[in-house]
C-alpha cells in the first residue's frame, strides 16, 4: 500500500467529481429536497379531518357532544347538514372525511336513562389516516358514557377524576410529531440509496471505458483502487448527513439529544457498509444500466422493510427477518436512539455490532470478487 499512489487515485476522483457538476449538484441538493418533501408532506398523524354534523336532536346535550368531538383535534367541524343522506353524500364526494350523526331523540333518551345512539361515519379508504379518527371517536364515546353514568348514579366525579385513571405519557416525542421520527430515518435512507448507486456506477463506468483494465496493469494494488474509489464518496456521505442534520434541526426543530460524535462514528460505519454493497453490485454487472437496476432492486426493500416508513412490528415474521439483513434497519434504530432518545453505545451496541459485521462482510466480499474478476 503506497500513500503516494492512493493520493493520486483520490486526487483523480476528486477532479472527476468536481467536473461532473450535474451529479455533484444532485448529490448535494437531493438530501435537502427529500427532507423538505418528507418533512412537510408526510404526516402519519392525521388530524383535522373535515367533518360535517347532522344533529337531529338540536339540544344542549347534543351540541355538547359535538363540541367534545371537536375538542379532540381529530375532527374539524366544517358545518351542519340537514339530513342523513346529505351527510353521506358529503363523505361520498370527498367534501368531508367524516360525519357525526345524532338521532332526534338523543337528549330525551339520555334523560330517561335509556341507551341513545350516535353514529360516526369515517372515510376509511386510507386505513392509517382514519385510524386515529376512529380511536378518537371511541374515546369520546367512553368518556361521555362515564360522565352520563356518573350523573345518573349521583356519584361524585370531578373533571379528570375517574375511578381508574390511565395516563399515557408519550416519551421522546411527546407531541407525536411524525417529522421527528422521519428526519433521522431520512439520513439513513439517503445515505444508503444514493451511496450504493453512486459507487456501483463509479466502478462500472471505469470498466465500461476500459480505464479499469489500464489501472490494473499499473503498480496500483486492488486495495488502493478500491479505497481510492470509495474515499471521496465517504466524504460526500458525511456532507449529506451534516446537511440533513442541520436543516432538520433548524427547520423542523428535530432535537439532537445524544452525542454528535457518536452519530458521526456510527454514520461512518454505515457509509462504509453501503459503499461495500455498492462495490459488490459493481462486481456483478458490466454496464451502468444494469448497475442502476440492481441498485433499485435493493432500494425497494430498503425503504419498505427497514422500518423507515412502516413499523417493523406490524410485518409478517419473514419480512421482518429479511429486514434484519439490511444495514439500514440497524442504522435507523441507532439514529432514532441517539437523536430522539439521547441514548449511547450502552443501549445501541447490538446495532453497532451488526453494522461492523455488514461493513466487514461487504468489503471483504467485494474485494474478493474484485480480485477474482480482474484475474
Amino acid at each position: 500500500m503506497s500513500l503516494h499512489r492512493l493520493w493520486a487515485m483520490l486526487l483523480k476522483e476528486f477532479i472527476q467529481m468536481r467536473r461532473d457538476r450535474g451529479t455533484l449538484g444532485i448529490l448535494l441538493v437531493v438530501p435537502i429536497m427529500q427532507l423538505t418533501i418528507f418533512g412537510y408532506a408526510i404526516r402519519q398523524d392525521v388530524r383535522n379531518l373535515p367533518t360535517v354534523v347532522y344533529d337531529a336532536s338540536r339540544t344542549q346535550e347534543s351540541r355538547a357532544l359535538v363540541q367534545r368531538f371537536d375538542a379532540t383535534g381529530n375532527f374539524r367541524i366544517r358545518g351542519e347538514v340537514s339530513s342523513y343522506a346529505e351527510a353521506l353524500r358529503r363523505v361520498d364526494d370527498g367534501r368531508a372525511r367524516a360525519a357525526i350523526v345524532i338521532d332526534a331523540d338523543y337528549a330525551r333518551r339520555i334523560k330517561r336513562g335509556r341507551p341513545a345512539e350516535v353514529q360516526v361515519l369515517v372515510d376509511a379508504t386510507d386505513p392509517s389516516a382514519s385510524q386515529s379518527a376512529i380511536g378518537a371517536a371511541q374515546l369520546v364515546g367512553q368518556t361521555s358514557n362515564v360522565r352520563i353514568l356518573a350523573q345518573q348514579t349521583g356519584a361524585k366525579l370531578g373533571e379528570g377524576r375517574m375511578p381508574l385513571d390511565v395516563r399515557v405519557r408519550p416519551l421522546y416525542n411527546p407531541a407525536l410529531k411524525s417529522v421527528l421520527f422521519i428526519v433521522p430515518g431520512i439520513i439513513g435512507m439517503i445515505l444508503s440509496n444514493i451511496l450504493v448507486i453512486i459507487t456501483a456506477m463509479a466502478v462500472v463506468r471505469e470498466r465500461e471505458t476500459g480505464t479499469l483494465e489500464q489501472l490494473i496493469v499499473t503498480p496500483l494494488t486492488r486495495t488502493e483502487i478500491m479505497l481510492g474509489k470509495i474515499g471521496p464518496y465517504v466524504l460526500v456521505g458525511l456532507v449529506q448527513m451534516t446537511t440533513v442534520l442541520i436543516v432538520g434541526h433548524f427547520l423542523f426543530h428535530v432535537p439532537i439529544r445524544g452525542s454528535v460524535l457518536l452519530i458521526y462514528l456510527m454514520a461512518l460505519l454505515f457509509i462504509v457498509a453501503n459503499l461495500g454493497l455498492g462495490l459488490f453490485i459493481s462486481t456483478l454487472v458490466t454496464r451502468q444500466a444494469q448497475a442502476i437496476q440492481l441498485a433499485f432492486l435493493f432500494m425497494l426493500p430498503n425503504v419498505l422493510l427497514s422500518g423507515f416508513m412502516f413499523p417493523r412490528e406490524a410485518m409478517p415474521k419473514a419480512a421482518a427477518a429479511f429486514g434484519m439483513l439490511l444495514p439500514l434497519t440497524h442504522f435507523l434504530q441507532v439514529m432514532r436512539g441517539i437523536v430522539l432518545k439521547g441514548v449511547g453505545l450502552e443501549a445501541l451496541w447490538p446495532q453497532c455490532l451488526a453494522l461492523v459485521g455488514f461493513s466487514v462482510l461487504f468489503i471483504t466480499f467485494s474485494t474478493l470478487r474484485f480480485h477474482k474478476e480482474l484475474g
Binding site: 503516494h4 487515485m9 471505458t209 476500459g210 480505464t211 489500464q214 489501472l215 503498480p219
Partner: protein
C-alpha cells in the same frame, strides 16, 4: 536481462478450468525488438499478454519479463513495463495534462513528474493540447496521449494491444514513426494486431492458434515455412482456415 533478451517464455501454460487457453508455448523477444503477436480471437493471444504483464498467474511454465519472473514478482514486472490497451484507458473527463499527471503519479513519479509530463507532451506531439479535455481529442491524438501515459515511467518493455484500431492512416503512420524511434532508443515493443499490413513492420513475430505457437520468426522466415503463401495475409488466412 540475460543475453539481451527482454522476454523469455518457456513452456507457458494457462488453463481456465478444462479450457487450455495457452498450451505450452516457448519463445523469446530480444531487447529493442518490435515483436508482433498475431492470432485470431480465442487463439490465446490475450491470455499470453495478460500473463506477460503480471495480471494472470501461469498454470505452469515460466515467463521472465524485463528481468523479473511474472509468477514470483508480478509487481516488479508491472513497474518495469508499459501497457497501452485497445480502449486507450484514458479518462475522457480529465484534461491531457491531468491524465498524464495521474498515470505518472500512479507509477511513482514524484520530483521527476513535471519533466516527464513535458517530455511526453513534446514527444507525442501533443504540444499545446495540455489543457484540453481528453474526450474531445481526435482518435490519433488520444492514441498518442495513451502512448505517452504508458511511457512516463521509462518502461524497458512496452505492450501495445491492437494499437491502431480505429485510427486514420495519417495518424497511424505518425504513430509507427514514434514507435520505431522508441525501439531505436532501446525500448522493446510487443504488439498484437489484426492488421496484416502492419505485420510486415515487425522485426519478428509469433503466430498463435488454439493456444499453440504455429509460426515464429522474422516475416521472411515465417513466409518461408508457408511456401504457397505470397504474403503474411495469406498465412493468416491459411492458419485461420486450418483452425475451423
Amino acid at each position: 536481462m540475460s543475453d539481451g533478451l527482454a522476454v523469455e517464455v518457456k513452456n507457458l501454460v494457462r488453463h481456465f478450468g478444462p479450457v487450455k487457453a495457452v498450451d505450452g508455448i516457448t519463445f523469446d523477444i530480444r531487447t529493442r525488438e518490435i515483436f508482433g503477436i498475431l492470432g485470431p480471437n480465442g487463439s490465446g493471444k490475450t491470455t499470453t499478454i495478460r500473463m506477460l504483464c503480471g495480471l494472470l498467474i501461469p498454470t505452469s511454465g515460466t515467463a521472465v519479463v524485463a528481468g523479473s519472473d511474472v509468477t514470483t514478482h508480478p509487481e516488479r514486472v508491472k513497474s518495469a513495463i508499459g501497457y497501452m490497451s485497445q480502449a486507450f484507458g484514458l479518462y475522457g473527463d480529465l484534461t491531457v495534462e491531468e491524465n498524464l499527471r495521474f498515470y505518472g503519479s500512479v507509477y511513482g513519479l514524484d520530483k521527476e513528474l513535471d519533466a516527464r509530463v513535458a517530455w511526453a507532451k513534446e514527444r507525442m506531439m501533443l504540444g499545446e493540447l495540455g489543457p484540453r479535455i481528453a474526450g474531445k481529442l481526435s482518435g490519433g491524438q488520444r492514441q498518442r496521449l495513451a502512448l505517452g501515459c504508458s511511457l512516463l515511467h521509462r518502461p524497458t518493455v512496452l505492450f501495445l494491444d491492437e494499437p491502431t484500431a480505429g485510427v486514420d492512416p495519417a495518424a497511424r503512420r505518425l504513430f509507427w514513426q514514434i514507435i520505431r524511434g522508441l525501439a531505436a532508443e532501446g525500448t522493446t515493443i510487443i504488439v498484437t494486431t489484426h492488421y496484416m499490413d502492419e505485420a510486415e513492420r515487425f522485426d519478428r513475430l509469433a503466430f498463435l492458434s488454439r493456444g499453440h505457437l504455429t509460426a515464429y520468426g522474422t516475416p521472411t522466415e515465417v513466409k518461408r515455412t508457408f511456401p504457397d503463401a505470397s504474403n503474411l495475409e495469406d498465412i493468416f488466412v491459411q492458419l485461420q482456415e486450418r483452425d475451423t
